[in-house]
């Protein structure tokens, strides 16, 4: 496990066009982490990156992605024209020959995880603040400060498979239960036409989504990684309060919605709904009962009435708590079945690019760190995952590491399936058969291209 706080050397955002004249270089730096770096050092770092990026542009139309020096690795990401986000990590180096780098590689954050961190950071920023270019120049410094400081501090990145393949965990439900959720959403949207339900999450698993895939992932990550853990902590601390709040409450804004003043505190977000063509600005309202969380959007041009929210609260509370308890029964049942099925120590990861569904065997989940994947294995999976082209629409690759790990990567029809097997005396055929067996057992009802 690698703690980002100790490993991120710096994280900054710049735009060269903001201070074109000499002496105004600092204006180009929209945000710089960590804080204590002197302005001169900042200028130097940013200057280096500007130069590299500019230099690289003469060779390729593709923007520059990374720079590696003997001690540092720079990852660049240009989300909007002229805006560059840069993440810098230190790499352990020895004065040995370059071949030794392979051995120490595991200790560094995987580059694709670093790059994903930048992408997620930008998407999260865009969700709450909108695009960089839409923010007036006089506000952009404070906006970035306000957003990225807590974000980067709270980010607890590890070399974990779930950081490598960022997906959404869907909660399996039986039809009746799922329809209950759907019908509740319908009833709410019909009764309160201004409200649109964009997601329904139980614990940290998604049941319903009404957003375009990318925005869904961002909102899901916000809920599961930021908002809900805080809520759960609050609920555990104030046990008695939680019991009294059994019928649910608004958890965004954090203090709930009680008076019309609270309406001014509503969070605004930029989102694209699943069947829409463009992003719009909405108020984001999040409601929670027991373990069920519902997110709603309201168009920002709507006049808000506190009465509507009170009535919604009274309406949704009992409904949601009934459904939440039904779901919890289902979950208990399902957990039992899964426990039986996953009794073996198979290690697999499933990911569907279309709906971002992510599923891994119990032995790979974060709850069991003892069996976490070795960095080399992770790095191989990262390579297969990142390099979509070589496997094409369908394909399979089996890689054996020197220490008897067999890593199989399958892609088929926008899906990815990885199996990790540690088996000293196996041959390729045995591994292929075993993978096929696991695939058939775990992925029932899914079409995989034949191999």
């Amino acid at each position: 496990m690698i703690d980002v706080k100790t490993k991120i050397t710096s994280f900054f955002i710049f735009n060269s066009s903001f201070g074109p004249k000499e002496g105004e270089e600092l204006k180009r730096v929209l945000f710089f982490h960590p804080n204590h770096i002197s302005p001169d050092a900042r200028k130097n770092q940013v200057g280096l990156c500007e130069a590299v990026v500019k230099f690289m542009s003469t060779f390729s139309s593709e923007p520059c992605e990374a720079l590696q020096t003997q001690t540092k690795r720079y990852i660049f990401y240009q989300p909007e024209k002229g805006y560059w986000m840069v993440l810098v990590v230190t790499i352990p180096y020895a004065t040995k020959a370059t071949s030794a780098i392979g051995e120490t590689r595991g200790e560094v954050l995987n580059p694709s995880i670093m790059s994903d961190l930048l992408v997620s950071a930008y998407k999260m920023f865009k969700l709450f603040m909108g695009s960089f270019k839409d923010i007036p120049m006089e506000n952009i410094y404070s906006t970035c400060e306000e957003f990225f400081n807590p974000y980067i501090m709270s980010k607890n990145l590890t070399n974990d498979i779930s950081d490598l393949i960022q997906g959404v965990s869907y909660l399996p439900l039986d039809k009746n239960c799922f329809f209950k959720v759907i019908c509740l959403i319908d009833l709410l949207e019909v009764t309160y036409p201004d409200f649109k339900c964009i997601s329904f999450v139980y614990n940290d698993q998604l049941i319903w989504n009404g957003l375009a895939t990318n925005d869904m992932l961002t909102l899901y990550q916000y809920l599961v990684q930021t908002l809900l853990p805080k809520q759960v902590e609050k609920e555990i601390q104030g046990g008695a309060v939680a019991a009294a709040q059994r019928h649910g409450r608004f958890i965004s804004p954090p203090d709930g919605i009680r008076t019309s003043d609270d309406l001014k505190k509503l969070v605004k977000v930029y989102l694209r709904c699943e069947d829409d063509t463009e992003s719009k600005q909405y108020y984001l309202i999040i409601y929670r009962t027991l373990s069920a969380t519902m997110c709603f959007t309201i168009d920002v041009n709507t006049t808000l009435e506190i009465e509507t929210f009170r009535s919604l609260d009274a309406f949704i509370g009992p409904h949601l708590s009934t459904i939440a308890s039904t779901i919890s029964e289902q979950c208990a049942l399902h957990a039992l079945q899964t426990a039986q099925m996953l009794g073996t120590d198979q290690k697999f990861v499933y990911f569907n690019r279309l709906n971002l569904a992510y599923k891994s065997s119990a032995s790979l989940s974060k709850l069991v760190p003892s069996t976490a994947i070795k960095p080399e294995v992770l790095s191989i999976i990262a390579d297969i995952h990142t390099d979509r082209k070589s496997l094409g629409n369908y394909g399979e690759v089996i890689i054996k590491t020197p220490d008897e790990y067999w890593i199989t990567g399958k892609t088929s029809n926008e899906r990815e399936f990885y199996v990790i097997i540690q088996e000293k005396n196996a041959n390729l055929k045995e591994i292929a058969d075993e993978v096929k067996r696991i695939c058939e057992a775990q992925m029932k009802g899914i079409f995989f291209y034949p191999m």
Binding site: N176, L187, T191, E274, D275, G445, I446, M451
Partner: protein
């Protein structure tokens, strides 16, 4: 309380038949008799000398004839086949005698005869025709069942049973006679069937509160025979008697509750009819009628086998009738007969009482919609009304989504029962016990196909149809029914046309729409390739998958699928595979060609593959050279 009112519905849910049968009004020289077995009115002018006219609902059985006046008539009835007329007269002698006249083509023949009951001193209370050639004399000594032999002008006694009864009630639909003994404290039913008399379980009433003739009726309701008894002033408070209740006591039949109590909440004179398995209680002083449905599920009130019912709807008057001008309703000249006849002897009108199904949904509280739909589902002539209600709810989903959901549940629970019945019947075999099913009523069944064609199709662009189909499909699953193809198709169409592709994908992924080939093809057409291929794989439509893959120019995968799936190789013409591989790099073609050669049975290069064989040779020679 929000109200719902079905468009174009009227306020009167009970009406009299539009064209009453007219007959000569009761007068000093004209006597009017009614035979409730055949539903015929007999008007006897001057004792029959100036003519007898017989009028019934069935015009083909109407007739008129003359006969001699041999004394005042008490009762006059045709046998069910209209070949024998039986007349009971008030003779001085008071002998239990009935006269018979043989009829041919509804005209009297000269063959006349009479028969005296076996108990010579008995008082004849009446007679009934249980069968075409059988007549039962009901006397204060008992019942005698006789066979009429019209050719021989004789009657042959079949069976008799002794019972001391003062009056009786007759149900022609079930051939049951109910005799009242012990001054109305004991009611004894007899079944006249198979040329025999069967004594049924007697009904014991409170001895302190005997019943009188006008308060007792035999009713046929929900495939069972009931004795309806008016219990007036149940609270036994003399100064302020409580409201009247109608007690329905089971006489014969299998039901879950043997006693139903209909709470009228009113006091006064009542009459009762049965319309479409509903009990209609007419109340004279308020000039209103009440509807009760004993099939309605209500909580029992503590007593085993006993349930209480409130009226389905608030009391409402009968729709005013015209003959041709407005005529007095609930008149004191009215006589009510079972099951659904009303006679106004003064006006000379015979009506039947009928239900106006659409009026049941007139101005009712919103919450009552599902209940009323449940009631309508048990009626025989309400299909149209149910669809109208559905359509109106669907068109106003914004206000009625909750009610619509419950209505779907009612509809689908009936549909499920029906489907299970059908299933059981088909399992039992065609010839099995189909005969027993004929008698039982089939309720209104709104099948999935009907719902799609009659409700959804014309309204594909209603803004809330997405919610409607979700509620409908949810209800089907809740009832444990499988969503059928038409509904699945409608779901897809609605979701796609309303731009709700996301929901469609979610439903398919969670298997909320059942797998089927048409659905898979629809998904394919919509570009949902992943979902479509998954579904085909689940359906084991290997041939389809092969076609799809060939269409995507992926011959190798297609060959793989044809070989590997499900163990059974699917023959795919090698020609197709090779044709698809031809434009690909040579190694692809070669690999495929070799693979096909290894599988000579299913798809070896062969028929119509000459050009590919040549191409193969060309490639291999290039390689070797």
């Amino acid at each position: 309380m929000a109200k719902f009112s079905l468009d174009d519905s009227e306020e009167y849910y009970i009406k009299l038949s539009d064209q009453p049968k007219r007959f000569d009004a009761d007068s000093p020289v004209t006597n009017v008799f009614f035979d409730d077995t055949n539903g015929q009115v007999f008007t006897v002018r001057s004792g029959g000398v100036t003519g007898v006219t017989v009028i019934g609902m069935d015009n083909s059985k109407n007739t008129s004839f003359r006969m001699e006046d041999r004394g005042p008539i008490i009762s006059i009835k045709f046998s069910p086949d209209h070949k024998i007329l039986a007349i009971q007269r008030n003779h001085e002698s008071q002998n239990p005698v009935i006269e018979f006249v043989n009829f041919k083509d509804l005209a009297p023949t000269n063959v006349e005869y009479s028969h005296t009951c076996k108990w010579k001193n008995a008082k004849l209370v009446g007679f009934v025709w249980p069968k075409a050639n059988e007549i039962a004399f009901v006397t204060d000594h008992g019942i005698e069942l006789l066979q009429v032999l019209p050719e021989k002008k004789q009657l042959k006694s079949l069976k008799s049973t002794s019972f001391s009864g003062a009056w009786f009630s007759w149900c022609a639909l079930s051939n049951i006679v109910l005799l009242a003994g012990n001054n109305g404290a004991l009611l004894q039913p007899f079944l006249l069937n198979n040329s025999s008399i069967t004594k049924l379980q007697k009904l014991e009433l409170d001895a302190a509160r005997p019943v009188v003739e006008r308060d007792v009726f035999l009713l046929r309701l929900c495939d069972a025979t009931w004795c309806a008894v008016f219990r007036h002033g149940v609270t036994t408070n003399v100064t302020a008697p409580g409201p009247t209740e109608v007690w329905l006591l089971l006489v014969s039949g299998t039901v879950s509750h043997s006693t139903h109590i209909l709470k009228t909440g009113l006091v006064g004179r009542f009459a009762v009819n049965v319309v479409d398995d509903l009990v209609v209680v007419h109340h004279q002083s308020s000039q209103t009628s009440l509807l009760f449905d004993i099939a309605e599920t209500v909580g029992t009130d503590g007593h085993v086998g006993q349930v209480s019912h409130a009226p389905l709807l608030p009391p409402a008057p009968l729709r005013p009738a015209r003959v041709p001008d407005l005529c007095p309703m609930y008149s004191s000249n009215w006589v009510v007969f079972q099951p659904d006849y009303i006679i106004d002897a003064r006006l000379g009108c015979l009506w039947r009482v009928t239900l106006v199904p659409s009026a049941l949904a007139h101005n009712i509280p919103k919450d009552d919609i599902p209940r009323i739909v449940a009631v309508l589902l048990r009626r025989s002539d309400s299909e149209d009304t149910i669809y109208r209600i559905l359509v109106q709810l669907v068109e106003n989903t914004d206000s009625y989504l909750v009610e619509l959901t419950k209505v779907f549940d009612e509809i689908n629970s009936v549909y499920k029962q029906w489907a299970e019945c059908e299933m059981a019947r088909s399992v039992a075999g065609v010839g099995g016990n189909a005969g027993t099913e004929v008698g039982s009523r089939t309720p209104v069944v709104v099948s999935q196909t009907d719902f799609c064609t009659r409700v959804l199709h014309a309204r594909a662009h209603m803004p809330r149809l997405v919610q409607v189909v979700a509620a409908y499909a949810a209800s089907l699953w809740r009832q444990g029914l499988v969503v059928q193809q038409p509904v699945a198709e409608a779901c897809v169409r609605v979701l796609v046309s309303h731009g709700r592709g996301g929901r469609l994908r979610a439903l398919v992924r969670r298997r909320c729409l059942p797998d089927s080939r048409p659905l898979a093809c629809q998904l394919l057409a919509l570009g949902e390739l992943q979902l479509a291929l998954d579904m085909m794989a689940r359906l084991q439509r290997t041939a389809d998958i092969v076609e799809v893959l060939l269409g995507w120019d992926e011959p190798v995968a297609a060959a793989g699928v044809s070989r590997s799936s499900g163990g059974v190789p699917v023959p795919v013409p090698a020609r197709k595979l090779l044709a698809a591989a031809r434009p690909r790099p040579p190694h692809t073609f070669l690999a495929l060609y070799h693979a096909l050669q290894l599988q000579p049975v299913t798809s070896a290069p062969g028929e119509q593959c000459d050009i590919y064989d040549e191409y193969y040779k060309q490639l291999t020679s290039e390689q070797t050279s």
